[in-house]
Symmetry: D2
Subunit: 329 residues, 4 copies
């Protein structure tokens, strides 16, 4: 439980806008925060994988948290990644994020050096014991090389070490196990999917929310999708998810023989945000290679066909204006 | 080329001795430095994988470099890992290491976020351009998830961005490619193997040296092995390598169903150093689980059977007391 | 389209009952076929991964198809795996299966030797062109090392080379892509999930059916789950899936430090079928190591707690006795 | 021990020449056998990975063994791959190969279904017990997904289940372990490296021979390299290995975005054999995509620069004409 209550709803992992020199572009970051809040999201997650956390210096990380917290102004919770290789390093990162105003920190399993499930459990327990804000467990085996077992997550939740989990493992069985065991144990654990292409399913199954990278581009679409799924409007939710699935095609525009998949996806998100007038430039943190002009034109074309529209945003506002406010319960 | 000349010889990756509380144990570190220098090694490499770099805080990392440089007193080069996830973070780490006195920094490919070979090349070039000490490329796909291609390494060497490479990929073809292309291009690139169990082969093939984790335990053995291999004494080199192969069995003593392979290996090195009276305790950096008493007894038994002996050390001193001094050429 | 119409519904991958000597136990196989048909399944899939196809000789494979087709007696379609390493070998296997009476063959990507997506496409197109029964594509990267891309599957369906796909990749994004693109292209492609723990989701999302290994043990449960999910009874479907999730715990009973995960799972299915009185013995095909007595007792305990019950089977019969008959449409 | 004595020396894995229709081209196969024997090889290995075994039908496999044995005429041992997914299938393959005249069979760990080390050990023991010719263990984790542990290999050798091992794992540590333990146990186990780019090293280390795919193209070069390495002529061996390393560049000519790495490499071997006039065509077994004309020209250029020459072949004959005859000891 954060100071904003139980975590739930749409909590996009913010891109980190950068100047051509690779410094944090605070003016663009402010506009991105506004764009997301206007889109109806329930929380903000900075310094995640989508935020290029692994490429930002400690000074830049602090700057991002301070600026985001200031712009958000307490209207919704701000989560910050405290993502580093080892336990004591994560404690350092988490304390800095908390001092900079983050409402919660998001923590992965240790990486670089191999770890055992029991070492992973100790890692989270130690971080939680030494940090003053709630901890969200982040299951992202594609980056850290190990999968958080549902057993470990449930045990950590039962001990009070974590308040939420973001499952970016892409494993439907794992997500199922988390939901079943949370129910069986009666735990107060928020379960988020990091899979932005299966939100209707995940919410229908009982997930509390989603952390969609594509939510940077179309926050209102994800808010609408979330509301529809929560309301059990299965067909409409599927239709909106299908549109967002097509929009996600922007991540496949860039030539992957010339850059990493990471740069192709993050470069596309930034290019889209430039196209929408939200941020000033599409520079990636070093050593990422951004999209070239032809690739950016391809992104623009997909946005024109499948992207956010004014009427859609208005519609989302209407649907989302009811009494339930997931992230600030 | 470092201030000590071209890098070559036996350069062990130092364990980081810790107090029971997980703080750097400087007295033990001093003894470890002495132990290695007395064993005849040609350089010291702190903050590597064996040094648990991924689990040490920035403050601890700095402390390790300062203490090691002070104890080494300029007698041999001190290399420091500048191992972090992204380019700008590595630059920060490398500058701190250089400021603390390191003669060179050891740098891996970026990790956590996926990278493309061209992004990896940019990473090393950028680090080299912004750091005042020589850069050693560290190829360790088991930790960072990507293999440094021999082409990239050779290109970086030709550009002057790196002075050496440590190949811990375990790929014999890759090592062969590096050696062949260095020769074909006439490059001044030091090539080290990180494979401590094939040193006779690697040196025979043309490698300049080895970075053996087991060298913490038996530095004189590795010095002797290196000298024999360089002298073309194939049978004797093989025999010494075979003994060290058996000694390496200490890394298989610990129960891996209770801890990670990393903790099993590093815990064994530390247990062995305690057994030999070099360091005070075998604590691993959090969240590592150290060996228990029974496992430590198993390590001691292997040391008794295959470990360093006084006569061996004397012998090594004799063999190694000739005029060639690889690391300080 | 098979001679039984469009494939849909619950089509379990049959275990292959073996005598203690490792020969096909036809009497047990007959009882298994009866058990499944009485449970209300819509089709039978022999010679899949669950059927230990990779360990059976060609003679045994033929025997399994002949016996199953005979026992099924045309009441429902019988699919047979034609699973082998290369194109011409698969053609041989598929022709034999068709000659033995199979209504369709199930084919994976080539394995052992690496393949390119275009080579995979050619593989399926060639098999389809040379075999007289419909081809079902089987996406099982955990076994064959490559993922069938949704693009390839859709292209093959558009060319008429495949009539169905079984997605055992566990990737929610992949399944979504198949469903979205099938809809967008208006293709007549049956989409099955191989994920027996997320059937309610998969059917809700638009899948045509499921191929559940656990369906050997509780066919009526899967039939009930399928019917509930198709009827949009979300809560009841979830409840039934949750029970089957717990029953799936039988695959985690066996000690995996003593045998492979494959043997642990398949050994548990067979032990359960022995416990239920369906088959005579739990022998695994060579070189699999079956469960020991203590482990089999663990399986029995889980079946007693979460397994199929008379009333449930009766209930399933009632629910499933309506006019819709998925697999034989 | 085969009827030809202990296995040793250069035993290339033969390509399988195919007609444009994908049938075995026996005339070309005869010429390939002649080419290899004239090059001085010590044995022939058909139906390996290089022989596209996984794509050949059972009828083709038998044809290859029969034809090769006939052409070899007892002058040197013929080994045949008995490579299939499960134990009983391998027994079938091995018996067919033996009946067709093979002197020994080459067997991998089971694949497709996951296996445990104990299941792998049972697999080899069972095959050995039921087959009348000697068994060679083939460690090729890149194809079968599991690594043969040195412990398992040594145990199988001690039991008499295998007479040799071909290590294509590319792991220098594994090879070292095999050699050390063979020596320590005093076992009569022939150890071959499958790594064609590190032959000088492997022979120097104590390996008995090599199974080089590139040996199809330049058998005399590998014979010469083997003889030099055995004679301890380190510099000359290295020089010959370096030339063959460059010649291996033919496997990197083909565009891998258009075909698999397997097809790129095997297509290059066949293109080279066409270029040298040994075989009639470069067709790959289905579904492999062969090299196009431009790529074949690239292969020809490399052969012109680094390939086999008359004088070299004459030289090899001279060097190899001594009294030691490795494979037929």
């Amino acid at each position: 439980m954060t100071s904003h209550g139980r975590l739930a709803g749409v909590i996009p992992p913010l891109c980190t806008p950068l100047t051509p020199d690779g410094e944090v572009d605070e003016a663009s970051l402010d506009r991105l925060v506004d764009h997301l809040i206007e889109g109806g999201v329930h929380g903000l997650f900075v310094l995640g994988t989508t935020g290029e956390v692994s490429a930002l210096t400690d000074a830049q990380r602090e700057q991002v948290v301070v600026a985001t917290v200031a712009r958000a102004g307490g209207r919704l919770p701000v989560l910050a990644g405290a993502i580093d290789t080892g336990t004591d390093r994560v404690v350092d990162q988490a304390r800095r994020a908390a001092a900079a105003g983050a409402d919660a920190v998001v923590v992965t399993a240790p990486f670089y050096a191999a770890t055992h499930p029991e070492e992973i459990r100790r890692h989270f327990a130690e971080v939680a014991a030494r940090v003053d804000v709630p901890v969200v467990a982040y299951d992202i085996p594609s980056k850290v090389g190990t999968k958080l077992s549902p057993d470990t997550v449930i045990e950590l939740a039962a001990e009070g070490a974590i308040v939420a989990v973001k499952d970016s493992s892409g494993s439907d069985v794992s997500l199922r196990a988390l939901l079943s065991r949370r129910f069986a144990r009666g735990l107060d654990l928020s379960i988020f999917t990091g899979s932005e292409l299966t939100v209707d399913y995940a919410i229908g199954l009982g997930c509390d929310g989603v952390v969609p990278g594509l939510g940077n581009v179309d926050p209102a679409g994800y808010r609408r999708l979330f509301d529809l799924a929560r309301a059990g409007q299965v067909e409409q939710a599927r239709s909106e998810q299908d549109r967002l699935f097509e929009l996600f095609g922007i991540t496949a525009v860039a030539n992957r023989t010339r850059r990493s998949a990471t740069s192709a996806a993050l470069g596309a998100f930034k290019a889209a945000l430039v196209d929408l007038g939200v941020i000033a430039g599409a520079t990636l943190a070093r050593p990422g290679i951004p999209l070239d002009d032809a690739e950016r034109a391809g992104v623009s074309a997909l946005i024109a066909e499948f992207g956010p529209r004014i009427d859609a945003i208005v519609g989302a506002g209407t649907i989302g204006s009811g009494s339930e406010e997931p992230a600030g319960q």
